[in-house]
């Protein structure tokens, strides 16, 4: 099995995996590699989506994949009408694609979706030694952070904030107002005085928000 492969998984491979193991565990085994797999089994929070959910998501994946080549491109996502009227639609789509890539395979798709798995109560007592699960609070927040931070410098600059604000807000707000809102936002969150929001500041400012509930999708269970 080997270490975690980062190559795009071929359609046939996936089918093979499913066929030979017939279960989610096989999929995970392939995904994580032997050692990590053993680790994760002892650790309920990394046990990922159930088999039936994987099957459903896979059929969703294939239904989106018009080119039928086992990968999704950006326009496959854009074909989803609700995303077109989502203010953050483009950025959400982009979040599915790894850095610099234009195609995402099913594994990548699942990886992104895994961030949105609900955190169960019994998972809250985490085993410190295991790898942090993708759907931990910190990782969820990181996902949201990445929606702002496009240049990946681990800071939300004023410009980046303004861009997102403009997208999320109607046409009735003038630029000046938006600018001052952005300023105020940074002011509230900024603690080290660099006029940008770093990830730790972001986490701090959202400590009272129930991120686990806001960023969990119930059927990824």
């Amino acid at each position: 099995m080997g270490s975690r492969a980062s190559t795009l998984l071929r359609d046939e491979e996936l089918e093979e995996i499913k066929k030979e193991t017939g279960s989610a565990s096989g999929f995970l085994l392939h995904e994580l590699g032997e050692d990590n797999y053993q680790n994760s089994l002892s650790h309920p929070s990394t046990r990922e989506v159930s088999h039936s959910q994987i099957t459903r998501l896979y059929s969703r994946f294939t239904s989106l994949d018009k080119g039928e080549n086992g990968t999704l491109s950006r326009e496959d996502f854009q074909r989803i009408p609700e995303l077109a009227i989502n203010p953050l639609g483009d950025r959400i789509i982009n979040a599915f694609f790894p850095e610099g890539e234009d195609q995402v395979n099913f594994r990548g798709f699942m990886r992104t979706l895994a961030h949105f798995r609900p955190i169960e109560d019994n998972e809250k007592s985490k085993d410190v030694n295991g790898p942090e699960p993708l759907n931990s609070r910190s990782n969820k927040l990181h996902f949201a952070f990445r929606l702002y931070d496009l240049d990946k410098d681990d800071k939300i600059s004023r410009d980046e904030l303004l861009q997102v604000l403009r997208m999320m807000v109607g046409v009735n707000i003038s630029d000046e107002q938006l600018g001052s809102i952005a300023d105020r936002t940074i002011q509230e969150a900024d603690q080290d005085g660099d006029s940008a929001i770093s990830f730790t500041e972001f986490v701090k400012v959202l400590e009272k928000v129930d991120v686990e509930q806001k960023m969990s999708i119930r059927f990824l269970h």
Binding site: I85, N86, Q163, M168, I186, H221
Partner: protein, 797 residues
Amino acid sequence: MGVRGLVPFCPWNWCLLLATLQCCGASSESNRSTDSSAQSELNVRFAAASSQPAEAISVFTLDYDYVQIPYEVTLWILLASLAKIGFHLNRRLPRLMPESCLLILVGALVGAVIFGTDHKSPPVMDSSIYFLYLLPPIVLESGYFMPTRPFFENLGSILWWAGLGALLNAFGIGLSLHLVCQVPAFGLGDVNLLQNLLFGSLMSAVDPVAVLAVFEEARVNEQLHMMIFGEALLNDGISVVLYNILIAFTKMHKFEGIEPVDILAGCARFIIVGCGGVFFGVIFGFISAFITRFTQNISAIEPLIVFMFSYVSYLVAETLYLSGILAITACAVTMKKYVEENVSQTSYTTIKYFMKMLSSVSETLIFIFMGVSTIGKNHEWNWAFICFTLVFCQIWRAISVFVLFYVSNQFRTFPFSVKDQCVIFYSGVRGAGSFSLAFLLPLSLFPRKKLFVTATLVVIYFTVFIQGITVGPLVRYLDVRKTNKKESINEELHARLMDHLKAGVEDVCGQWSHYQVRDKFKKFDHKYLRKILIRKNLPKSSLVSLYKKLEMKQAIEMVESGVLSSTAFSTSHQAQRTKETKRLSPEDVESMRDILTRNMYQVRQRTLSYNKYNLQPQTSEKQAKEILIRRRNTFRESMKKGHSLPWGKPAGTKNIRYLSFPYSSPLPAGRDMKVAEFTDHDGSDSELPPITFSTHSPKESIQERRWAPEVIPMRSLHRAATPPHFGYRRNASREEHLGRGGRAILRPKPLFHAVDEEFESEEESEEEAPAFGSLLSSELRPGGDCNLSHSPLLQRK
């Protein structure tokens, strides 16, 4: 409460009423003498004309008898409509109280007038008229506007709640009232058990949707919405079935003679009646869907088909003593999906509006009749009975809500909170249904009918006015307690971002139900039903013209509304940024937060907001439009720069754009060339008038000036859009699938997808807002498909 709303049009109404009064006064003598049936009046009129020798030709006569019934009915409806206009003119009123309040007040007013003039009111309400003419439109409308997906997703909970709730309420109220009647002091000894049970069953007919508008402002969660709809939908049917069964019991036996066999038979009959009704409804739904497949050449009769088939399903069910209400509901729910896609746009709108109109007329008449009978001499007031009825109604509703939900919460992944349950309990407002059933009790079997009617009226008035008016504040109070008002701007902004993110990812995953059954049904539906029931091969010309019309319409709208004026950040804005941050006063922060809250886009909601009395345009449409316009502008700008994609090479300095992205990753080389090709074809398509955005916008920003010379017809914009994204990956076989879209004029590149394919991704978008959005997006999406199944999308507008 409603007085303020009534004031604006009072003068008119008084004139009308005075006119009516005069007529009434003039002809009241003859009214009292004749029986008030139109036929006999007609006869009398003609007889009089022929038998009496005319002394002279009368130049002016008044013949009120002839027109009395339609005239008065029309006047009532007009009066109610005027009242509604006044009601809605006042912004605050609709939020304060449900519209039922208004209708009841109007009814009381009319009743007062009729009572005052001692006029015999026309017989609008008797059993056959109610069940045959007044009830079906109301039920049809609620069935048709029921959002199907959430309904089926929650079908178990809804059936459990509506069905068992109605039964529990009916029997609970009936039995407790019977216990009360046993007490000799109240003088109710002659009301036997069956009568009490019957009374209980008609008391259990709630009309919760009436209050929905009142607390819709507070963001009631969708599950709650669905439960309330579902209850409203099924409740009527179940009450009527129960009512009929109990009436049958009353007719058949003396109370002592009822045996367990009969009770079992009653239960069996209940189930058969319910399921049989649904079965017939579904059959007729499919038949009518099938027929609308062939009506493309005579689209004027499409609404007729829809209404007639629904009505036929009702009548057929009633003939067989099955539940007509459930039949018509099932018919509406079944045929809606297919009919929407088959019928033309105008037919669809007509159907919607006509349905609303019919149901509103029916309900108005019932309420007016209620008002008329309120103010009259046929009441019997018994303190004990009435008070206990009121008390028991509330108690039993509370019991049924809390017990049933407690049980169903064990099986739900998303249990209903206590707050939700309180809202459901409190929305148990009785309405026209209860009154009708009470009014139509046969006097022969119910010597104390007046008592029942009075009690029903009291409960209705109490629930509608007191509960209806206080439910809004209650919900807001419950809501406010939960949310933390003092959110920082950060929290609000990021929370909203996360909401959008979550909604977006949910949309990517597609909508799931928890039931395999539903997925299987979807597959079955897709494979077989759609092929049979949906029109194939819509003529291309109609599609083209439709597309054109829409583009024109949208362009005109945008031009008229003066398009997004301040859409771009200029670079100077960047320079203005100062290093020191201002300290803002708390008021500034407050106002800032308010501005932000008010203006942020709402997260997409899956369940449509349902207003019983009005068809309102969705505000989310406006939001969707803005977003799409912005994306289009973004895209045009990126087109202008010679790079086809937002993901192309960075154009230069890091300008703030309202692009969703700054340019980041480099384009593959091949795409650049293809893009250049396509922009050459600007001039080739002369079908469409080019749409320019620059001319009318007030602010001539740099971008817009640049856009003016380059007039890109929308079509070629799309053509240019599509190839970089998916043109190349298509193999020849794909292009053959494009039945709908292949037009000789256009380039061979695929623009439209065949209906079947599109439905894969479209199948989830049944709600209006995303559908509308996809309609626009099909025009505007930078890289996406154009025209995702135009016709269905359009219908949903």
